[in-house]
């Protein structure tokens, strides 16, 4: 696998010399495998420095306490603290990692107030609810975009636009929409009893609701585009056959569209799940991390005070996401990677 005909033909033995020429000649004489690894080196170096090293180091830090002043190896103690709600596993705003192990200890396992004070529960609730609605609405948008109609290009652009706007502006829009003294929705919605009328953006339930709606507004487009791609890869002649056979539109949808779009739908759901579990910026810009504590929020809020614990939370978050990533990889593998 070393040198092939490539090395002889094109490489002219130049009379010029110097380091550049020497390096060029050396690269040209590398075999395919060697050349491949050489070109991948910069990518691998960057990913090792920015992803692999921090991940390993985070795990190491999560095994220590008092990392900043006097590091002390404590093994899995930080993880134990997280899952039992030990005294050190507290955050500003009496946030914990798990529900049911909340501050006073008097909460039953599923108490709304206790649930919304726990980073794990908030992240999972947010993920499940937002991905659920994004899938349904995204499917609807994809079905609309799949039709042929005048102005389709503009409707598609309009649907994509929320996806392309900065998170901080998405946050600002919903912050302004629900701000007690600026927003127009706080009054009517609090009259209906859906959200709190005062300090709306400091109320855990109202804020989580607002943040979920904001996320659905922005990222449904991503779902719609992936589902649309799945819809457009369906063989149109199947529908002609179905029409001849007298199938109704609903039957066509149930028996052709849905099963055939399912793989694309599955991938889209996995991608959104992975992304939703990382939520931070939207929370930070709408109501702040102490009101709606997500896992990433917990890391950012504590890493300057309790580094070992923050590292443990970060590593657990990475582990949770790794499970979803495995799902993606399995899907790819099944389809013949």
């Amino acid at each position: 696998m070393s040198t092939e005909d490539r090395t002889t033909g094109p490489t002219r033995q130049s009379n010029r010399s110097g380091p550049v020429v020497a390096i060029t000649r050396w690269m040209e004489n590398l075999g395919e495998t060697g050349f491949a690894y050489l070109l991948l080196t910069p990518v691998m170096l960057l990913l090792s420095a920015i992803a692999l090293y921090p991940l390993l180091r985070t795990f190491e830090l999560s095994l220590y306490q008092n990392v900043l002043s006097d590091p002390e190896f404590v093994g899995l103690e930080n993880y134990v603290q997280l899952f039992t709600g030990g005294a050190s596993a507290r955050l500003p705003g009496s946030t914990t990692f798990l529900p049911g192990v909340s501050t006073s200890g008097s909460f039953p396992f599923v108490h709304v107030e206790g649930l919304l004070r726990s980073a794990l529960a908030v992240t999972l609730i947010f993920t499940v609810v937002s991905v659920f609605f994004e899938t349904i609405i995204g499917f609807g948008q994809a079905l609309v975009l799949d039709q042929d109609f005048r102005g389709r290009r503009w409707v598609r652009a309009a649907i994509i636009i929320p996806w392309a706007i900065p998170i901080v502006i998405q946050g600002m829009i919903f912050y302004l929409m629900f701000h007690p003294s600026a927003g127009f929705l706080t009054g009517p919605l609090s009259n209906l009893g859906i959200i709190a009328s005062t300090n709306t953006l400091n109320d855990p339930f109202s804020s989580l609701l607002i943040i979920t709606v904001a996320d659905i507004w922005k990222t449904t487009a991503f779902m719609a585009l992936l589902i649309l791609a799945g819809l457009q890869s369906i063989d149109r002649s199947l529908y002609d056959v179905a029409k001849v056979a007298g199938a109704t539109k609903w039957q066509q949808f149930k028996l052709i569209t849905f099963p055939l779009v399912l793989p694309a739908l599955g991938i889209a759901v996995l991608f959104r799940t992975i992304d939703a579990m990382r939520i931070y910026g939207l929370i930070d810009s709408v109501s702040g991390c102490t009101t709606v504590p997500s896992l990433s929020c917990m890391v950012v809020e504590t890493f300057n005070t309790n580094r070992g614990l923050a590292a443990a939370v970060a590593f657990v978050t990475a582990g949770l996401i790794a499970i979803a990533v495995m799902g993606v990889i399995y899907q790819q593998y099944k389809e013949g990677f």
Partner: protein, 332 residues
């Protein structure tokens, strides 16, 4: 298929209008199609209104000089007062004031510099990797692609703590061995502390897009260039990359949008969100939220200014975004 007169039609006379209509819809192809069409337009209109309304809301706020006194109700005959915001004034000056209260243009400028630099780095590195994955056969190819894929999905929070330490200038330590490698320069408050994480996080998507495109260039074209005396790298940058221009543009557009929109590292690595610390758009918007807490019209105006570049990109490069997103996700 056909719309021959239905035998049931004759019995229609004894039914009420609603019953007749539903009956017609069930049996008459023509009416059914009209119903589907109506449903379609209702759905399309609904999606248009829900996606675009928040931007209308920003505009209303920006034009309203005193938001606190604003009355967001409209009276509609029959329904009475309905909560619907309309501009209470026409204060275009807010769009000038945005740049006076806070040096907002500097934040936007920083965002553009960061996004452009990252895009160039990503295109360069992803081109090398895309060439390797798309055109070369070597052991460990599939495994390395999977590793790169996995990296891009980990949460930034999992990388934050050691990166922040290193960017503060603390020594980089080999995990579990405790050996100090080197003391990096202090990178917080400089573009490097943001460009490096951005490049790593957004690299994988571009690699996958470019791999697909580079793999499609016929071998003959590359060979022809090589016979002419071009090196392998020369062939990549002078033949394969220009021939894959649509793919390169797609990767560039998606990377630019991703960096411009990024929140996590943008808000953390510029310690005080100051423009001199290379704080991008995030810092500019947040400084309105934290310092000018009652100037809601300015917050809205700043958001509109910040969103404009993305509006233009979406309208101009729509096809690229759609193809890049779907290919990146579905064909990886």
């Amino acid at each position: 298929m056909g719309t021959e007169p239905d035998p049931a039609q004759t019995a229609d006379d004894e039914m009420g209008p609603l019953e007749r209509w539903t009956h017609g819809v069930v049996n008459d192809q023509e009416k059914r199609n009209r119903l589907y069409k109506a449903l379609f337009y209702v759905a399309a209109a609904f999606f248009l209104v829900t996606t675009l309304f928040p931007f209308y809301w920003l505009l209303v706020l920006a034009l309203t000089p005193s938001v606190r006194q604003a009355d967001w109700n409209v009276s509609i005959p029959l329904l009475g007062e309905v909560p619907f915001p309309t501009p209470q004034g026409f204060n275009v000056h807010a769009f000038v004031e945005v740049f006076q209260q806070v040096p907002f243009h500097l934040y936007v400028f920083n965002s553009f510099v960061l996004a452009t630099t990252t895009t160039i780095i990503v295109l360069l590195l992803a081109s090398l990797a895309g060439y390797v994955f798309g055109r070369l056969e070597f052991p460990g190819r599939g495994l390395m692609m999977l590793a790169i894929l996995a990296v891009s999905y980990f949460p930034p929070a999992a990388f934050l703590i050691p990166l922040f330490d290193a960017f503060l200038g603390n020594a980089v330590v080999v995990p579990f061995l405790g050996i100090e490698l080197f003391e990096p320069p202090r990178l917080v408050n400089t573009p490097g502390s943001m460009i490096m994480p951005f490049s790593a996080l957004f690299l994988p998507l571009s690699i996958f897009i470019l791999t697909t495109f580079y793999a499609q260039i016929p071998d003959g074209l590359e060979d022809a260039a090589r016979v002419e005396g071009t090196t392998r790298l020369g062939a990549l940058f002078r033949v394969i990359m220009p021939l894959s221009a649509p793919g390169v543009a797609t990767a560039a557009v998606l990377t630019f949008i991703a960096v411009y929109n990024e929140y996590f590292f943008s808000s953390i690595m510029a310690l005080n969100n100051q423009p001199e610390q290379w704080s991008p758009l995030v810092g500019g918007i947040l400084s309105y939220q934290t310092q000018y807490t009652t100037d809601f019209n300015l917050m809205a105006a700043a958001s509109i200014v910040g969103v404009l570049p993305m509006l233009i990109i979406v309208v101009v490069a729509q096809e690229k975004i759609v193809s890049g997103l779907t290919e990146g996700a579905l064909k990886e």
